[in-house]
């Protein structure tokens, strides 16, 4: 089994979803998570606070520089992610399509360098 990161991309400055839309997305994501678990494809997942809460640390030769804000100054930021197990890219893309539908945002699929550990 391979491992893939499904990264949810959020666009900063987009209109905030209504309470109802947020609740709807939570419900859909919960259902998606349950489906991933029951298929045995679950690795790990999490939603992130907005990029405004990010801090970047650079350490070189013992000197640490800490700066406020995300690493990349772009509008698109990581909003959350899944780590899933899948036999190949087609299977991972199929999960990504369902995940994208559930959280109403684009999902980037990235392969891990190491295969998944067998259960």
């Amino acid at each position: 089994m391979r491992q893939y990161l499904l990264a949810v991309h959020m666009v900063e400055g987009e209109p905030t979803p209504t309470e109802e839309q947020t609740q709807q997305a939570y419900k859909a994501v919960d259902a998606f998570n349950a489906e991933v678990r029951s298929a045995g494809a679950w690795g790990f997942a999490g939603g992130l606070h907005p990029a405004t809460t990010a801090t970047v640390v650079r350490s070189q030769g013992g000197q640490v520089i800490t700066t406020d804000g995300p690493f990349a100054e772009t509008k698109e930021q990581l909003g959350g992610f899944w780590v899933i197990k899948a036999p190949d890219l087609d299977a991972a893309l199929a999960w990504a399509a369902k995940g994208s539908e559930a959280c109403a945002a684009p999902v980037e699929v990235r392969p891990f360098q190491d295969p998944a550990e067998e259960d």
Partner: protein, 404 residues
């Protein structure tokens, strides 16, 4: 006779290298390993065949030798790569006896090469490299881009197939409608590369055309409910049917209007026309079916003068609404020129952004010639000559230019 052996190796390479690479990829799941092993097998053939003779089944010999080369390499490297190499060795020992269209190695490989997770340019480059066995320079010319760009696309695409785990299989029924159009585009490009090889003296590389038609037939067998697959097959057959008439005795190009229609392959032409009629009955038109229909109208005309240009323009009008590309617009202008005159056609051609495409300049040149603008026509022929590396085409264009 060493010359005969060199020719046998050359022929085996053209006929069998693509199939051998595809089979080795199935064995080992590693494109680079497969390509290198097949290359090594041909090196061994070049050393051994002159001494011991050409084996009865040269293609099979290449696959077996390449497989042994790859196994040797994996054994040498298995201490370094551990489990991965062991797994590949295991696969090489098991999966080898599948047959039938679903198990055609090249069909599997073409769907891998045309996977939507790869960039469109990479899909074409990979298919031409791995299925058609083209060199990077030939692919570069087919794309109208620098060779280094193609080389980089190939490296990146192969890395992505390996690292992202793009599978090596024919897609399931439900996935086919999404996956098929790009496969068809690539098969068509393979055919075109063979029909009008972009570089060198060899105008027609028949094995590429044969390969493309074989793949189109296989796709039709595998997906009989897809009218565009039949449309593509019809288009290839109708084009192939005119091949003999397309070159003169000295190897020079002969335009459609000047071809000896008695030299057309009427059996292929009839098969293509039958497929076009079957497509019409289905009434689910698509770009390949329409292009095939246009080709069939040309085929119906006993002489060039009797060509039904009205019907051809109507088909182009339909084609350009579903495939509004500059190349379609350019081809449509040939019919416009016949029906409404070169001046109207030139006005459309001049709007098109196709500067890198030699046929854009040769079409312009021809229209300018018909309008009596000989200096402009000469410059346009020069531009066309500068944009093709095919010597037969260059000499044809030079001849047209010099007879102004």
């Amino acid at each position: 006779m060493p010359g005969a052996d060199a020719a046998a190796i050359e022929r085996t390479y053209r006929e069998s290298s693509g199939r051998a690479v595809a089979t080795l990829i199935r064995f080992f799941g590693d494109i680079d390993l497969a390509e290198e092993a097949v290359q090594e097998a041909f090196t061994v053939a070049a050393e051994r065949w002159p001494a011991v003779g050409v084996p009865p089944n040269p293609g099979g010999w290449i696959v077996t030798t390449a497989r042994n080369k790859a196994v040797d390499r994996l054994r040498r490297e298995s201490s370094r790569y551990g489990r991965e190499a062991q797994a590949a060795l295991l696969r090489a020992d098991t999966g080898s006896s599948e047959t039938g269209p679903l198990h055609d190695d090249r069909l599997r490989l073409i769907f891998t090469c045309c996977h939507p997770a790869l960039a469109p340019e990479a899909r074409l480059a990979l298919t031409l490299r791995l299925i058609a066995g083209l060199q990077t320079a030939g692919i570069a010319r087919a794309f109208l881009v620098p060779e280094a760009t193609v080389a980089q696309r190939l490296v990146r695409a192969k890395r992505k197939i390996r690292d992202a785990g793009i599978p090596y299989r024919v897609p399931r029924d439900a996935e086919l409608p999404d996956r098929l159009p790009f496969v068809l585009a690539v098969v068509y490009l393979v055919f075109n590369e063979g029909y009008m090889a972009s570089a060198g003296d060899d105008l027609i590389r028949s094995e590429l055309c044969t390969e493309a038609i074989r793949l189109a037939r296989l796709l039709a067998e595998l997906m009989p409910d897809e009218p565009e697959v039949w449309g593509l097959l019809a288009l290839l057959l109708l084009t192939e049917a005119r091949r003999q008439a397309r070159t003169g005795p000295d190897g020079s190009l002969v335009l459609l209007a000047d071809q000896d229609r008695g030299r057309w392959d009427h059996a292929l032409m009839a098969e293509g026309a039958d497929l076009v009629r079957a497509c019409l009955r289905r009434n689910r038109p698509g770009p390949y079916q329409l292009q095939a229909a246009i080709s069939a109208v040309h085929g119906d005309a006993p002489t060039a003068a009797q060509t039904d240009w009205g019907q051809i323009l109507a088909l182009y009008d339909q084609l350009i609404t579903i495939a509004p590309t500059p190349v379609v617009a350019l081809n449509r202008c040939v019919a416009v020129a016949e029906l409404r005159g070169p001046s109207e056609a030139l006005a459309i051609v001049d709007q098109l952004d196709l500067d890198g495409y030699h046929l854009f300049h040769s079409t312009r040149a021809d229209l300018l010639r018909r309008l009596g603008r000989y200096d402009d026509a000469r410059a346009a022929y020069d531009a066309a000559i500068a944009r093709t590396a095919n010597r037969a085409e260059q000499s044809f264009l030079r001849h047209r230019r010099d007879s102004l």
